[in-house]
Amino acid sequence: MSARGRIPRILAKRAILLSVALVVIMLLTAVILGATGYDEKILKAIVVTELQAYSQALRQQLKGSGEDIEKLIKEREQFLISYYGLDKPWWERVIPMAFNAMILNLGYSLSEEVANIAGLQPPVRVSDAILITLPRTIIMLTIAQLISIAIALPLAPFIAYRRGSIWDKLSISYAAFTNALPIWWLAIVAIYFVGFQLKIAPTSYRGVISYINRFWEDPFTSFINILYYAYLPIIVVVIGILGGWLYSVRAIAIRVVSEDYVFMAKAKGLPERQVIRHYVLRVIAGPAMTLIILGLAGSIGGFIITESVFDWPGIGLLYYAAITTGDSPTIIGLVYITTLVYIVARFILEVLYVILDPRVSL
């Protein structure tokens, strides 16, 4: 069989493996939620609140005999307990929980904080909460990623080309510093100086919700306001991740610039720009693309800590709110969506590898 003929089989195998990984991750998450009693505690609390509301409503509607009401409440309790699966041990809830998430039946969130972040009234459909917060994360993190890529991709090969120069040393030191300083701490420092001392940026960023949710009512004002809210987070994230981008693209480029054919091109007397463009950039395009696609896919999942420091109402803050308020449907929904995006990105990469480079055998 020819190399080309094997490609569909190879890709199918990878697709199956990645899907299996996705299913296992979902089951694992459901097991963590179930086995620790985390979701049970929340479900019980939900049953209690619903019963209270129900009995109040009953007492108002029929001021009749107490016994009837008691009986109705008991029936309702039984119904709720079986509805939420509380009459079954946790392991029987695991598979439905994971399965429902995977068919995108994400259910409702009763958490007020989750609704708050989405800018809606509880109960909120989990899919709505995710779809509403996703653009906000894209505005901040994905744009920051794109800016960093746009800076690092042209710059890093030049740095690699001048290995050992002052620029090289500076970029490595910069990468080392930002690798050691967490972005969320840079965020705290930035809010302190720019927001608190200079007062030219907000100190809390949740106000951006109304401008994004009602963008089309007055696009221009909204845009200016979103910019006012977003510029500091974007700058901070770019400062935080640029070092890593420079370092990793440089590492890829260094292997290429020490190849003989680059040496040969230099020896021919080709101008530096041309050597880099024709002999370096083309070769590093493949591995760099891996970094770019995975970086962009990762940014969709939000930076939980950084978003919570800025109080930026994106996917990260939604994650955080869901976890701290014990909102299992939102947690499992978010785990599914973010993992799915990541796994799809990995599969796209596999396809690109095979299409672009037929020598790759997996």
């Binding site: 493996l17 990645l18 290995r163 947690i331 993992t339």
Partner: protein, 513 residues
């Protein structure tokens, strides 16, 4: 040669690999900087472990231990940068200035006093343009026991008054007097009472009570200037007078005094704490905790977290990678698929989830911390295992392995003698590289509110954020910046070491001179 071979311990090649790696790291400027920083971190950690009490974590969380300190106070050294600082003073008094029986009632302002009276007095000089936060009087040592006068048990009733005599001559009662017994006086903290002090300030200084109550220390230690009752610190010598009155109904106070003095009863040692506007080397938090101690305690904890997590992850990664590469087959498949799964797990959300679950558990702070770290380890060995596997595969294909096998060497011997020593430089590098990850992960989890209960840099930072979130000012720089800087320095130490070690792994990165 052959005798030397026999004497060699089986761990010798591993030891030599370590030694070579160390020399290589030291030879570079980044490695040198990293190693020097590491020595500092380790030295401070050892010092802290020796000096700090072993129960420091519970002391730290016990708010009562710290309330003699000023709250949310910047460090004292800000005075060297020209910022006014009201001194933090601890004055110990072990002798009354007067111990006397008054048979006729007398008055201090409108307070009537009578009987056996002790007076203590201390001076506090305010010599800078700042307000002390508060005053606290602690009856550190009180003699108590039964008093029998003419065959009758007597329980003296004690009332304590704390007066602040200001440089401008006005006298203000600052505590709410209550009737105490000898036993309840022992160890008692007499606190500034805003209502009483504000009432006296209204009478003496013509400042409305409700205005004075809000920032009582501004009016106690300040003078009103201009409109709207603005104040500025009133510099000069303040005296704090403590009047202790002992009275037993139906007993001659002279007898009471005689018997109490002979038995050594009553207030013996009083500590007056004037809470300054700044404190210590690193300031305090909103519970008055000395941040310097908390930050110091963070050193050994951070190193422990980082090194424990890194060593465990690297060991698991190595074992899994070597087994996967050397034995192949079903084992290899199983390990590779596991790595596929853990490589795709969204790690941070799962860690936060586990942290939130664990903080409800009824286990000790250390156990809680280690459960969280253990999960971090479980999800972070995958990348290393893949690389170790591919390295093992290529080493396994070398002719000398085949030769060793032909000579009858066992699998275990081949792995330990020929494979692992070659992997050690790489493992050292990734060990060093994964230390900051664990430290940053713990700090990050703490910062968003996962509480394990130990004072770590992350949890100090988390409390600063909670304080700001609850309406406190963002201006608490001494509380926000040092923990982050220390996290950064510690992480940087290992990043520098890792970058230096990387050249061992990837010789092509070595600079060609």
């Amino acid at each position: 040669m052959s005798t030397y071979q026999l004497k060699r311990s089986p761990l010798d090649p591993i030891y030599r690999a370590f030694k070579g790696a160390f020399g290589e790291v030291w030879a570079q400027s980044m490695g040198k900087a990293g190693l020097i920083l590491l020595v500092f971190l380790v030295a401070i950690s050892i010092y802290t472990t020796i000096v700090m009490p072993s129960n420091f974590d519970s002391v730290w969380n016990n708010r009562k231990e710290w309330d003699t300190n000023p709250f949310v106070a910047p460090p004292e050294w800000i005075r060297f940068f020209g910022f006014p600082v009201a001194r933090h003073a601890i004055i110990e008094l072990n002798r009354p200035v007067e111990s006397k029986v008054y048979l006729e009632p007398f008055f201090i302002d409108d307070i009537q006093l009578f009987g056996y009276i002790q007076r203590f007095s201390a001076t506090y000089v305010l010599d800078s343009d700042a307000y002390p936060q508060s005053i606290l009087v602690r009856f550190a040592e009180v003699g108590y026991g039964t008093i029998t006068i003419r065959g009758r048990m007597v329980e003296p009733q004690i009332v304590v008054y704390v007066f602040l005599n200001r440089p401008d001559g006005s006298q203000i009662l600052i505590n709410a007097p209550e009737t105490l017994t000898l036993k309840s006086l022992a160890g008692k903290d007499i606190r500034l009472d805003q209502d009483t002090a504000a009432a006296w300030i209204e009478r003496k200084l013509n400042v409305p009570q409700d205005v004075a109550k809000k920032i009582i220390n501004f009016y106690l230690f300040g003078e009103v200037v201009g409109e709207n009752f603005y104040t500025r610190p009133l510099q000069g010598s303040y005296s704090i007078d403590i009047v202790v009155s002992y009275l037993a109904p139906g007993v001659d106070p002279r007898d009471l005094k005689t018997i109490m003095e002979s038995k050594g009863l009553g207030a013996r040692e009083i500590t007056i704490i004037v809470k300054g506007s700044a404190y210590g080397l690193a300031g305090t938090d909103d519970a008055g905790r000395d941040l310097f101690l908390g930050l110091l305690y963070g050193f050994p904890v951070a190193l422990l977290i980082g090194i424990f997590a890194a060593v465990s992850a690297v060991l698991i990664g190595m074992i899994a990678g070597v087994i996967s590469g050397y034995y192949g087959g079903v084992v290899d498949d199983a390990i590779q698929r596991t790595v596929d799964i853990i490589g795709n797990i969204p790690l941070l959300p799962i860690l936060i989830l586990i942290g939130v679950i664990v903080q409800e558990w009824n286990v000790s702070a250390w156990e809680r911390l280690f459960i969280i770290i253990a999960f971090l380890v479980v999800f972070s060995w995958g990348g290393l295992a893949i690389i170790i596997r591919s390295m093992t595969l290529s080493i396994k294909a070398e002719p000398y392995i085949e030769a060793a096998r032909a000579l009858g060497a066992s699998n275990v011997r081949i792995i330990f003698r020929h494979i692992i020593p070659q992997l050690i430089p790489y493992m050292m590098a990734s060990l060093v590289f994964s230390v900051p990850g664990a430290i940053l992960a713990e700090a990050g989890l703490s910062v968003i509110g996962v509480r394990h209960g130990l004072p770590t840099w992350g949890s100090i930072l988390a409390e600063a954020r909670a304080y700001i979130g609850a309406g406190g000012s963002y201006g608490v720089w001494w509380w926000i910046f040092p923990p982050g800087i220390l996290i950064g320095i510690t992480a940087l130490t290992f990043v520098l070491l890792g970058l230096a070690a990387e050249t061992i792994v990837e010789p092509r990165l070595r600079r060609r001179m």
